[in-house]
Each structure stands twice: as C-alpha cells, then as structure tokens.
C-alpha cells in the first residue's frame, strides 16, 4: 500500500504543471464548468469567493478520500499551481 502511495505521489509530482505560462490555459479549461459569466445552480460559482477561501477549498480536495470529480481534477495540480491559479483569478 505504502509503495503504491509513493508511486502515485511521484507520478503526481512529476505531472504537476507548475510552468507559469500554462496556468492561463489551465484556468481557461476550468471555465468549461466554472464560467465567470454564467452562474448555474448545479455548479458552485467561485468568482465571488475570497481568494484565500478558494485556495483553502482547492487544497481541501487534496485531503479528501472520496473520488468526486473535483478531487480527481485537483490531483494533478500542485499547491503551487493552485496558488498561481488563484493569483490569476483574483488579483
């Protein structure tokens, strides 16, 4: 089990995007569901959250054990990616 977790960790780390110029296009992909101009009741509208709340929320997915769609999408994003996404969206 430990071995598997370690392998997963290495995989995830090696797959983080981090590269700064990629953050814009990551955010653009997030917009497929979280569109700044469109507020649908089935998906949380994230643009009026305080920046820090957004970061906390995104980081909390990393701790979640369930396999919901945001937990899975989040897996590939590093903490650094998440902070950069937040900078782009809220600063």
């Amino acid at each position: 089990m430990k071995k598997i977790s370690f392998a997963l960790f290495i995989f995830i780390c090696s797959n983080c995007f981090s590269d700064e110029n990629k953050i814009n296009i990551i955010v653009e992909n997030c917009r497929a569901c979280h569109n700044v101009n469109i507020n649908v009741k089935e998906i949380p509208y994230i643009y009026d959250l305080p920046k820090i709340k957004f970061i906390e929320l995104m980081l909390s997915y990393k701790k979640q054990k369930d396999n919901n769609v945001m937990t899975r999408i989040n897996r590939v994003l590093s903490e650094d990616d998440i902070r950069k996404i937040a900078d782009l969206m809220y600063d």
Partner: protein, 431 residues
C-alpha cells in the same frame, strides 16, 4: 460589487495574459487595412467550431470571420441520450448561434462539398466559392461503410443510428414508443475509435430507464465490437442494481461483433454465425473523419482521421488548414464535446497568436465525460493532458473515474454537475 470586480479582472487577465491581444492588436491594426484583413473561415459550428468562434470573435475587428454549417440548428450529442430516454426534450438540446453575440461574423448555412487546399477556397454544390486565408474545420464524424454486410449508413428508417445532429432523433424515439411488452432491442456498439466512448452504454441505460418508468418489460442486448469499455464497472454496478435482467452485454470475444444485418427480417448475425432477431435494432456504425475531409483529400491514403500538430492543430502538410474535434487523431484524448471545446481553446488562441505574430502557448487540455444511468444518477471520467517531451503528441496525465458505488450521494451530485457542465457549455458557445 465584489463579484463585478473579480469578473472584470478575470476577463482582463484572460485577454491580456494569454494572448496579449490588446497590445498586439494595435500593432497588427497598423499593418492591415480593411482590404487585406485575413479571411478566417470556420467550417462546422458544432461544439468544436462554435468554441473556436467564441474565441476568434474577440478579434473579429481584425479578421473577416465566416462560419459555415449545413445546419442552422445545432443539436448536441451530449444529452441526446437523455432525449431518447424521455428525460429532456429535443428543443432542450437544440441551439441557434446567437447572432447578436457574433454581429461581426458572416454565417453561411450550406453544405460545403469540397475544399481546395492549394487555391484556398471552399466550394458549395451550387458552384459558389468562399476563399480563405485560414480555415478551421470541425465537421464531426463520418461512418465506415461495408463493415456490416447488408447495412447501409443512410438507411435511417430501418436502423436509425442517431449518432450525429442530422435529424433521426424523433424517429428513433417513435420507434421506441411503439415497442410492446417483452420486446428485444439490440444496440450494436462500434469498435474504437469513435465519438463518445461511454455513450452506447449510457443509451442502453436510459432506454431501460424509460421502459422501466412505463412499466414495460424490454430487454436491451448490447452486442459489442470490443472486449471492454470505458466506465465498465460503474455501468455494471448500476445495471445490476437498476436494470437487472434488462441489459445484457456481449463482448466481442463472446460473439458481440455484428457482421451482418437483414433489414427484412430485422436480424443481425455475429462473426460466430449466430443470429439475433430483434424488435428494434440500433447499429452505431464504426467511424472515421467526416466526409468533407475525404472528399477534399485532406487525409493520406490509409488514414481514418486527420493528423494534426498538437500545438497549433494545423493539419499536417496543409499550412493554413486547422482541424479540431472528432475528426482528428488526438492521441490519448477521447472524442468528446469536452475535448473538442478544450482543443478549440488552444487552437483559437494559437491561431490568434499566429495572426498577431506572437509566440504559441504551450497547450494543456482537460476532459471530463459524464454518463447517466438514470435521470438523477451519473458518473464521470476525467483527465488532464499535455504534450509529450518531443511535443508531437497529446498524452494523458492519468485518467480517473468516479468510484464504483451505489446509492451514494456522490452519484446524484455528479448528475447535477453534468447538468451544470452542459448548461455552462451551451450558454458559453451558443447562446
């Protein structure tokens, strides 16, 4: 107010951050005048084409933007199984492009017959031609003939496939509507690669759901040209719980590969010589790139799909032609609306960068594909993608599925997310 500030900043970031449009626009405007604005033509205004339109519209004062589609109304693939399953109406998944949003754009509703890649024009059946400087093609899919003996793709009366926006949805529903107790429905599921890999199984689920609600006993037999399929365990669990003894799946190696169809007696035969007679047969044909691609010789001899550069989506060997969506070989990316939309973002931003003489962005893609098993239950598969180290193919960073479990609130939540994603997508690109 806070919301507005965020909104404005965010839009600003997108316009400046990704493409540096504002500054480059000014430089570009100096170079061009109305006469030599480039003609950018988008052929196909389904998911991929409409997504490109949304982005290219941002520079519609710098280019002549022309959109061609044979259909005025776009009926989406996503959620079409919910229409078949009587959960939604056809009108709910049918859209007209909002011309007010695109008031700088010229629309032509006609079928393109031929693309001349050397002389750079598109020809229609009446002989009319449209010239292009840059052409984006997002024409969806075409179908392979002669895979199933006796089956003709155009025979939508005896066997409607209902796999594109071309009109057989209501007829398909009508055929279901007259089925009586103890009827047998056969779905022949195609071999890879094809548009929306989980959709045949979603269709089987929602047809079963429809009859269950009507309290009519119907069996759905899936004859599969494959030995496994995406989200298989999730489907199996849902079927065992909700559609026990209703849905039966036959893998290719167990006789699922259909090779013969007899229209008169409504039966199919598999490659092991067994016959199956049904009350309604839905053959989902094997697929390839759309006919316009082959008619215009845009693929090399033995290819079924367009080969593209994964950074620009430029068709290999054709400098000013770009292809996106289901007609391309996108390596690890499945053929889905989510993928087409994600690819279209990269294509459009890099085409804008090319026009404005800027550096290309390094692409990242996302796909999340939801499947319904009932009105309020769905599960998904998702993955991020980027380029491999030699930057010549799109590779998955690992796809992952919803956990296989029953009656969980997560499955109900995922159904809500699916509705939310769909509303967001169609609002963003069509409305």
């Amino acid at each position: 107010m806070i919301k507005d500030i965020h909104k404005r900043k965010f839009i600003f970031n997108l316009l400046t951050g990704i493409t540096y449009i504002s500054l480059s626009k000014l430089l570009f405007l100096k170079k061009v005048n109305a006469k030599n604005k480039p003609n950018v033509v988008i052929l196909g205004s389904g998911i991929g084409g409409a997504s490109c339109l949304k982005y290219l519209n941002k520079i519609s004062d710098l280019i002549n933007l022309i959109v061609i589609d044979k259909n005025k109304k776009i009926r989406t693939g996503p959620f079409s199984n919910l229409v078949i399953g009587d959960i939604m109406e056809e009108a709910d998944i049918t859209f007209f492009l909002n011309k007010k949003k695109y008031n700088n754009v010229k629309f032509i509703f006609d079928e393109a017959k031929y693309i001349d890649s050397n002389k750079k024009f598109i020809e229609f059946s009446d002989g009319n031609k449209i010239n292009f400087d840059y052409l984006i093609i997002s024409p969806g899919i075409g179908y392979k003939e002669n895979i199933i003996d006796g089956y003709r793709i155009n025979d939508k009366v005896s066997v409607p496939h209902c796999w594109d926006g071309d009109g057989d949805l209501n007829y398909f529903k009508k055929r279901l509507g007259v089925l009586e107790n103890n009827s047998l429905i056969i779905i022949s599921s195609p071999d890879y690669p094809y548009r929306c890999p989980p959709a045949p199984y979603e269709r089987a689920s929602l047809i079963s759901n429809y009859f269950k609600k009507k309290k009519i006993n119907v069996k759905v037999l899936i004859l599969d040209s494959k030995d496994s399929f995406t989200k298989q365990q999730n489907f199996f669990k849902e079927w065992s719980f909700y559609y026990k003894n209703t849905i039966e799946w036959v893998s290719r190696k167990n006789g699922g590969k259909v090779v013969f169809f007899d229209r008169k007696s409504n039966l199919v035969k598999n490659d092991q010589g067994e016959s199956f007679k049904a009350d309604f047969i839905n053959i989902i044909p094997d697929q390839k790139a759309a006919p316009i691609i082959f008619n215009s010789n845009l693929v090399s001899n033995n290819d079924d799909w367009c080969q593209i550069n994964p950074i620009t989506f430029q068709l290999i060997n054709f400098k000013d032609i770009y292809v996106v969506g289901d007609s391309i070989n996108a390596w690890d990316m499945p053929k889905s609306a989510f993928s087409a939309n994600s690819q279209a973002k990269v294509l459009s931003l890099n085409l804008i960068n090319r026009i404005l003489e800027k550096d290309y962005i390094d692409p990242v893609f996302l796909n999340t594909c939801y499947s319904f098993s009932k009105d309020d239950r769905a599960f998904s598969i998702s993955a991020w993608y980027r380029l491999n180290s030699s930057e010549d193919r799109i590779v998955s960073l690992g796809s992952s599925e919803s956990q296989v479990r029953l009656n969980s609130t997560e499955t109900i939540k995922e159904a809500k997310h699916a509705y939310g994603w769909y509303k967001t997508l169609v609002n963003d690109i069509f409305l």
